[in-house]
């Protein structure tokens, strides 16, 4: 690991949490979207994170002695397969033969709690980043 490579660890956390935030925003923005290019209502998306292990030596090291590796990365943006919300509204142009409209499977409460969770995780990464930065500055002050 290089002198400032620890910053990359926190930066990867910041990137991952920001992407989570983007996906949550998209879910919230599309909470009432009944039409998409694929047909049907909008489907809720979620982010899956995994440990970042870029190369063979990282993988070998972590399985052999469990060291600090390269942070985190997004492994996939999944689509929620749960059922859509059915709302009875016969006048809606998207209503089916029985008068029901399919609304996205986005749960506003869940999105809001996920958003706060992503926000707090982002803050934690910022704190770790500043701690690392301050320590690096102190290191460069040796002997001055």
């Amino acid at each position: 690991m290089g002198f400032l490579s620890g910053m990359d660890i926190s930066a990867s956390g910041l990137t991952a949490q920001r992407l989570r935030m983007d996906v949550i925003s998209e879910n919230i923005a599309n909470v009432d979207t009944t039409r998409t290019v694929d047909g049907g209502p909008y489907t809720r998306k979620y982010v899956v994170l995994e440990e970042r292990k870029d190369n063979f030596s990282d993988v070998l090291k972590s399985s052999a002695e469990a060291g600090a590796t390269g942070g985190v990365r997004v492994s996939e943006i999944g689509k929620d397969t749960s059922a859509y919300n059915l709302v009875y509204d016969p006048d809606n142009p998207d209503a089916n033969a029985d008068g029901y409209v399919q609304y996205p499977n986005v749960d506003m409460t869940q999105e809001m709690t996920d958003m706060i969770s992503a926000y707090r995780s982002y803050e934690a990464n910022v704190t770790a980043f500043s701690a690392y930065k301050d320590m690096a500055v102190k290191t460069l002050e040796i002997g001055t």
Partner: protein, 136 residues
């Protein structure tokens, strides 16, 4: 005298290297706070150092007053290496992740202060040497 002129600086450097590594490990734990199945790691150093110095537990060192006494010091301090250990036996949440953010943040703050302390010790060590050299 001259060959161990920097011995305390070397020991302080060892401590600060361990502290630096700990900072990276804590950063990694925090970055992976939302990773399913991730297990938190931590750095062991102080315990190993105390064990090598023979000052484990009481903080008192056993005296060697006779050449035939067995020293409690089990190894050379400069041979101690920081170790990264991972606790795979616990889970904090249903997704198998065991990162405790409160613990990690307090460890991070603690570690920074520890590092600053070591850095100022290194600096004061150098200042002492400096003033010793400059005496004319």
């Amino acid at each position: 005298m001259l060959d161990n002129l920097f011995s305390s600086v070397d020991l302080l450097e060892k401590g600060s290297s361990a502290s630096w590594l700990r900072n990276e490990v804590i950063s990694n734990n925090i970055a992976n706070v939302d990773t399913p199945g991730y297990k938190a790691s931590e750095v062991k150093f102080e315990d190993l150092m105390a064990a090598a110095a023979g000052t484990e537990g009481s903080g008192l060192k056993m005296a060697v007053t006779n050449a035939k006494h067995i020293s409690a010091q089990s190894g050379d301090l400069s041979d101690v290496e920081a170790q990264v250990v991972t606790d795979r036996s616990t889970s904090e949440r249903l997704d198998g992740n065991n990162v405790d953010v409160e613990h990690e943040m307090s460890e991070l703050a603690k570690n920074s202060i520890e590092y600053y302390t070591l850095m100022s010790k290194v600096n004061s060590e150098f200042r002492k040497l400096d003033s010793a050299i400059k005496v004319t």
